[in-house]
Amino acid sequence: MEEKTRSESYRRRRRSSLLDRDIMVPALIESLTKLDPRWQARNPVMFVVEVGSVITTIIFIAGLFRGASDSLFVGQITLWLWFTLVFANFAEALAEGRGKAQAAALRRARTDTTARRLVGGREERVPSSQLRKGDTVVVEAGDLIPSDGTVIEGIASVDESAITGESAPVIREAGGDRSAVTGGTKVLSDRIVMEVTANPGETFLDRMIHLVESASRRKTPNEIALNILLAALTIIFMIAVVTLQPFAIYAGTSVTITVLIALLVCLIPTTIGALLSAIGIAGIDRLLQRNVIALSGRAVEAAGDVDTLLLDKTGTITFGNRQATEFVPAPGITMDRLVKTAELASLADETPEGRSIVSLARRFGADGHQQAGMAFIPFSANTRMSGVDVDGRSIRKGAVDAISTWCGCPTPKQLPEAVQERVEAIARSGGTPLMVAENNIVMGTIHLKDIVKPGINERFAQLRKMGLRTVMITGDNRLTAATIAREAGVDDFLAEAIPERKLELIRKEQADGRMVAMTGDGTNDAPALAQADVAVAMQSGTQAAKEAGNLIDLDSDPTKLIEIVEAGKQMLITRGALTTFSIANDVAKYFAIIPAMFFVALPELGALNVMRLTNPSSAVLSAVIFNALIIVALIPLALRGVRYRPIGAAALLRRNLLLWGVGGIIAPFIGIKLIDIIITAVHLA
């Protein structure tokens, strides 16, 4: 809970810094430099607008020399066509600006430091840029970690805020899944020896900077497909517009090039064409604001498509440790006695289980304290029990078979029948039974249970509505797993999971055509991460895990997967909404421009002027202005994304079709009419 608040406040901090002048001013400048046709050529829709703008500019200038009567009109059209391009560029530059600001902040963390390299047992000081893979380096409190690496000796607390934004230090130690350290982070205490795992320019920080900066460069598969559709629509409308001139000539009239270009620009899908790249960049950026680094835009897009979520039980679904939930006295023993004995046995037990027993006992009114004369027996893997010897009382608690042996019953079968039954019932329900005994007499049983995180049930119900299947992964036996799975409301579970079975499960899901997402942090997760379609590696995880993932969660929060899926969906919805809107807009534009085109020669077509626009010039101009302004109006939406609601595909489609499809048909009728009223009032046409 606390963790969440912290990352939230951090998120706010980053977000607020994004709309300031540091981003706006460069974006404005860039929107002009991006008018370079070589840049525009990447985007067929906007390239057509640029070619049109150049042509009308030439017509305008030529008209000035000839003293053409329509120069005011042509000039205004030209101006608004250029505006259309600038607005599109601005949207893209703004989206990129956020990433650039982020990259600049990261770059500050990548200052060159001096590393203490160990060569043959001797330390030598070298610039961090000279470190190579396999070098061994010593880092002490106060030092910046010079490069990515694995701790091979020692334990230290490390401030990783330069990368995660999280100010609370984390522990890094040799061996296990917390051995990875990242260049640019700072050791706060102690001393570690690490092995460098990345060459200069390939470190995590380098990759992150590169990713953030180049987010716009590579198009995702869906973006490419959408671009093809937009290009095809552009060609279709070009055919419609180009052939209109011969038809007009046949009808005994003709249309000026300026008006034809205006019609073409209004019809081709400029709204989505202008905002498409910004939407993609903003999608990656939104994840960045949630402290998730997308190693490719493809991963974000794939996140929206995920069908199956593999979630680790521990830490994601449950709190990650078993807690005492129930005391069951043995026959002839009072509850009070059991509670007090259990509390005594656990007073010195600092494991989460031990503490949970004490806190449960306190709720039953026990109030024991550690006192002099208490000899605590620590837990050992050998005896599998712990306890205390005090005042001649010998108290033990531990695994059922260990305690029964201690009590003199070689097998649990020889325990009192009631106790036996209870033990079996607890095990059947998926819990873990612990037994408490005093002086070889069984006092009773403690029911230890995995506690499912509150609210997780609703979360899974929501996921189900989103069309996602959740599969819980756990090392527990089937019985325990089934209980937790039922309680948490997951759709399926994989018990006694070992890395191979995890991998097998992913392959099987994929063979059925499903896309799989998972999180992981350990080295043994790496093969599964590499196989999954969307693989979120924890920043706290090992190097191997991070290399296998295609997204990295800096907060190392496994529930983040759900937000990632939402972000992916949001990006796709935003694209779809603006594409639909853009195409639906065309209806009104036809009704504005077609009657205006032929107003003089074929006045009967004035009947199509359903908006009652003032005159042909104002009609064409209004449509072009609307077309340009709608881009600006939709920039915030493109950057923010259309909200995703987990209400099921059918309801979502109905809602969005109404909003963006039907709305897209109606909105321009109103918008164009309003603009017409204004430009008529100020005598611009």
């Binding site: 279709i236 055919i239 046949y250 069908d307 989103m466 996602l468 055509g513 199509l608 059918a650 499809g661």
Partner: protein
């Protein structure tokens, strides 16, 4: 009026019932199932394969399927072209017609090969019985079978079959002819002949009129031709007047029966589609969109024709309906049918790719005529030509899924198959080609001086003349075959350009669609879930209609505004150029 509307409604109900059963029957035919016709027809089928060396089990990739399809078209094209050119040297020519001129033979042969049946000639004054029966009727079957085969190939590509192949063109076409087209046209021919449609191999009859003059009455073996003309969405009638001729379409019943025949297979294929992809609702959603467009279009056309010509009302003519007069716009219509049945026929013949007519579309009110034109321009998808309607509608379905499907937050998929760059490229290409050829060829025709050479070109000035040209290319590219007949088309210019438009409209259209089928074939199917776009719901039908209208029809809005729309407003304002 009420009686006629009931007649229209009954026709639609009959189509629905017929399509349901035929659709299921076709599933069996094309998935190698056994039908009740097998005991009789299977030996014929096997015998044919053995004679022609077709390997029944040989699966073809989309490229091989395309090559096989084109090869059949080219060979049959050459055959028919030669028959037409040489008909004076061949038997069954009792009226001793001369060989058909090269440009007309090109236009006519292409026209029949492509299922267009555009007719720049007067059948009873040009074609020998052999030309009609072998040269043309052959294609009435073959082109219809080709359409069915192509639709089935696309369905196979879209279905969950694991194969990367599309089936075997020769087998599909053979089965379409043998199990579907022949049995149905035999039944239909008997029904039509029983109602008075002519079936005779005699020479033309000479009648002595009351005034004492003589009149030549053309006859022929036309009952059988009439059946496949409508059933196969061909539309090329033996008589110039087509289904307005009493020997082709004697009464109100045959009129509605012919409408039934036109609509039967296109709608049945929708059922076949639903069943072959394993979810009949998918077919119903597609069919729903077709019905919506078709019914609204029919309604507008019927309304426009029944209301009649405002210019006539303005000068005091009474066009209202009385007990003895059908009222409405009766110019170019038969009194047997009146405005309602005629408009219904027009919508059916252009909603499908039939192109037969029971009245003169050229004489329709501008709005009535525009309905016919728009139904063709949107690619004939309501319900569309035999096979062609389904495959073109599926192209729109893919575009609809791609445009709006993103709004549910997944990369678009149709029938569980992801729609990616390749599919979008091919689907867009199909739509683009349609627009390019119709508008491009119309632009050439309105500008080229050659268009008006030798008395060719539109007979009417102004907007209506433009409509005639626009309609002609819409119809030829769409492989419809109906016309605003005020266009003189039997000149070298129109024959050549039109023939080219038909060829491109059919085969350029089909290649991207078969490639699309190839791209989809064998693609991994993603199981549907709560997050999947439901393409089997009425909402999707609505979306599909929207995409057809906005992407398909709006492109033609500028052109239409200079044709029928302009004419309509001029008529309303009484400004018509005479």
């Amino acid at each position: 009026m009420v009686v006629e509307l009931i007649g229209v409604a009954l026709t639609f109900i009959a189509v629905a019932i017929g399509a349901w059963y035929l659709g299921g029957f076709m599933v069996k035919v094309f998935t190698g199932g056994r039908t009740f016709l097998h005991p009789v027809l299977r030996p014929v089928e096997v015998g044919f394969y053995r004679l022609s060396g077709i390997k029944e089990d040989h699966e073809q990739s989309w490229i091989l399927y395309t090559i096989a399809m084109l090869a059949v078209q080219v060979v049959s094209f050459i055959l028919t072209y030669l028959i037409l050119r040489l008909q004076d040297h061949l038997p069954l020519n009792p009226m001793a017609f001369s060989g058909v001129a090269p440009d007309l033979a090109w236009n006519t042969t292409v026209s029949f090969v492509t299922n267009t049946n555009w007719q720049n000639y007067t059948g009873e004054q040009t074609m020998s019985y052999l030309s009609q029966m072998l040269g043309l009727v052959l294609h009435n079957f073959l082109s219809a079978a080709t359409g069915i085969a192509l639709a089935v190939a696309l369905i196979r590509g879209m279905s969950a079959r694991k194969l990367k192949t599309l089936g075997n063109f020769y087998v599909d076409a053979t089965r379409a002819i043998l199990y579907i087209l022949i049995p149905l046209s035999v039944i239909a021919a008997f029904v039509l002949i029983s109602q008075g449609v002519i079936q005779s191999l005699d020479p033309y009859q000479t009648a002595h009129t009351i005034q004492g003059s003589t009149q030549t009455i053309a006859v022929g073996p036309f009952g059988s031709q009439e059946a496949i003309k409508d059933l196969g969405n061909n539309g090329g009638g033996p008589f110039n007047a087509n289904s307005a001729h009493p020997f082709e379409n004697p009464n109100g019943f045959t009129n509605q029966f012919e409408i039934f025949l036109e609509l039967l297979i296109p709608f049945a294929l929708v059922v076949t589609f639903g069943k072959m992809v394993g979810n009949i609702k998918q077919g119903l959603a597609i069919g729903g969109a077709m019905v919506a467009i078709f019914v609204v279009a029919s309604g507008i056309a019927i309304g426009a024709e029944q209301v009649g010509n405002p210019a006539l009302t303005a000068v005091g003519a009474d066009q209202s309906r009385t007990s003895t007069q059908p009222g409405g716009n009766m110019e170019g219509k038969s009194v047997r049918f009146g405005p309602v049945y005629s408009a219904n026929f027009a919508a059916s013949t252009t909603g499908t790719s039939t192109g037969s007519v029971d009245s003169s579309h050229d004489s329709f009110t501008p709005i009535g005529g525009m309905v016919a034109m728009v139904l063709i321009q949107i690619g004939e998808v309501a319900p569309g030509g035999i096979g062609a309607g389904l495959y073109f509608m599926l192209v729109f379905a893919i575009l609809a899924v791609f445009i709006a499907g993103l709004m549910v937050g997944r990369t678009p998929e149709y029938l569980g198959k992801k729609i990616e760059s390749k599919e979008v490229r091919l689907a867009s290409l199909a739509v683009l080609i349609d627009v390019l050829i119709i508008l491009g060829f119309t632009a050439i025709a309105v500008l080229a001086p050659a268009a008006t050479a030798n008395g060719g070109g539109p007979l009417n000035p102004g907007a209506h003349g433009f409509s005639e040209i626009l309609y002609s290319f819409s119809s030829q590219v769409g492989n419809n075959g109906s016309a605003f007949a005020g266009l003189s088309g039997n000149t070298v210019f129109w024959n050549t350009l039109g023939g080219t438009a038909m060829w491109l409209g059919r085969f350029f259209e089909v290649i991207p669609i078969l490639a699309l089928a190839g791209a989809l074939a064998g693609k991994r199917v993603v199981p549907a879930g709560a997050g999947t776009l439901g393409t089997d719901r009425p909402l999707f039908s609505g979306l599909l209609v929207g995409v057809v209208l906005i992407v398909g029809a709006l492109t033609f809005f500028p052109a239409l505004s200079l044709g029928p729309l302009l004419e309509h407003f001029q008529l309303a304002a009484n400004h018509l150029a005479h």
